[in-house]
Symmetry: C2
Subunit: 217 residues, 2 copies
């Protein structure tokens, strides 16, 4: 009843232009700042004011680009998981087993070196019991299950030591991400003014030895 007259000229089409240069730049500024803050303090411990300050934008302006705090966090988490799952997908049934695992370890360690904030963001989420990413964890499980089958085959073929594949993944994740998540501790214990890159170099060599020893059939 009494529908508003649909004026063909004014009502339709012209959605606000998305992805102007300004949009892109500011969304980038915001996510960059948010990553910094969220990765340190977790979702609850971070405030829009902190993100606003770090990004150089005002708080209301932040909320012009994102509906609310949670939406910013969501975007970061979603991005992160893509990056995180990639190396796992690349484990190939065609490669040499020990070599494939070693390559996986190396890729994961590179991620920890190059994206420590993403690693900490993930860690924060886990510590809180992963309330916001149950769905994504299921996706991870599916992928892991697939690779577990592959590894079991390798073990059966005598090409890998008989290690529980699930816990093998856990230990790889733990050791590599440790260098990002517990950087404060690693630095405090090593202390020598040794450069970050150098530390990761040594870590790579160590992990290689440790896992090669454990993996060889």
């Amino acid at each position: 009843m009494n529908p508003k007259r649909l004026d063909l000229k004014t009502v339709p089409s012209k959605e606000p232009r998305r992805n102007t240069r300004i949009q892109q730049r500011n969304r980038e500024l915001i996510t960059e700042a948010a990553l910094e803050v969220f990765s340190l303090y977790g979702f609850r411990g971070s405030t829009l004011d902190q993100i606003a300050e770090r990004s150089g934008l005002s708080k209301p302006n932040l909320l012009y680009y994102f509906k609310n705090k949670e939406e910013i966090h969501r975007l970061l988490i979603d991005r992160l998981l893509e990056t995180w799952l990639d190396p796992l997908k690349e484990i190939s049934a065609d490669g040499e087993p020990v070599e494939e695992i070693r390559k996986y370890i190396n890729r994961k360690l590179e991620l920890a070196r190059d994206y420590p904030r993403e690693s900490r963001l993930f860690a924060n989420e886990m510590l809180q019991g992963a309330p916001r990413i149950q769905e994504e964890l299921h996706e991870l499980k599916v992928l892991v299950d697939e690779k577990v089958v592959l590894i079991r085959d390798w073990i059966k073929a005598g090409k890998l030591a008989d290690l529980d594949p699930y816990h093998l993944f856990f230990s790889i994740w733990a050791t590599t991400q440790h260098y990002a998540d517990f950087d404060a501790q690693v630095q405090a214990v090593l202390e020598e003014g040794s450069a970050r890159d150098k530390r990761f170099e040594t870590a790579a060599q160590f992990l290689d030895k440790l896992f090669t020893g454990g993996l060889a059939p």
Copy 2:
């Protein structure tokens, strides 16, 4: 000028009695609740109201027992570090090298199993860059340095594989604490209704194999 008359009976001595039964019970209630909350949300993300509710005491009553939020946190951190350092101290120069390390790994894993909240409290602190525990980290470093010397001796004597001792510790900490800190992920990936104890059982066997393989000279 005009000092209040010092009545010898009323003014002196009688400090308020500490450690009444009520004091003990309530301080325990508070630290218990605080551990629960802080281990989930970190210092910034936790609120006195949450702790008050979980402990069953009112917020002003909380602050009757502790000066402020930070003091509660401090107490938890201090307690935790004692427990955490203990197993490291027990690594003995008199034991069989590989066996000593294996025992250390087992003890650490037991801690992760029995005190997951403490582990997460520590992890939260690390993620934030360990602002409140620089001092304690130094204490840790001193202890680690001592054990590093011991391990280097063992390596020189051909009783251990030639692995960087610092990174050996890192990998042990990482793998064991992972089961407490990333429990949400471990559960999601394993999923089988497998009981917690069973998981730790499997983890213990896995870590034993992995490190034995890597450590043998």
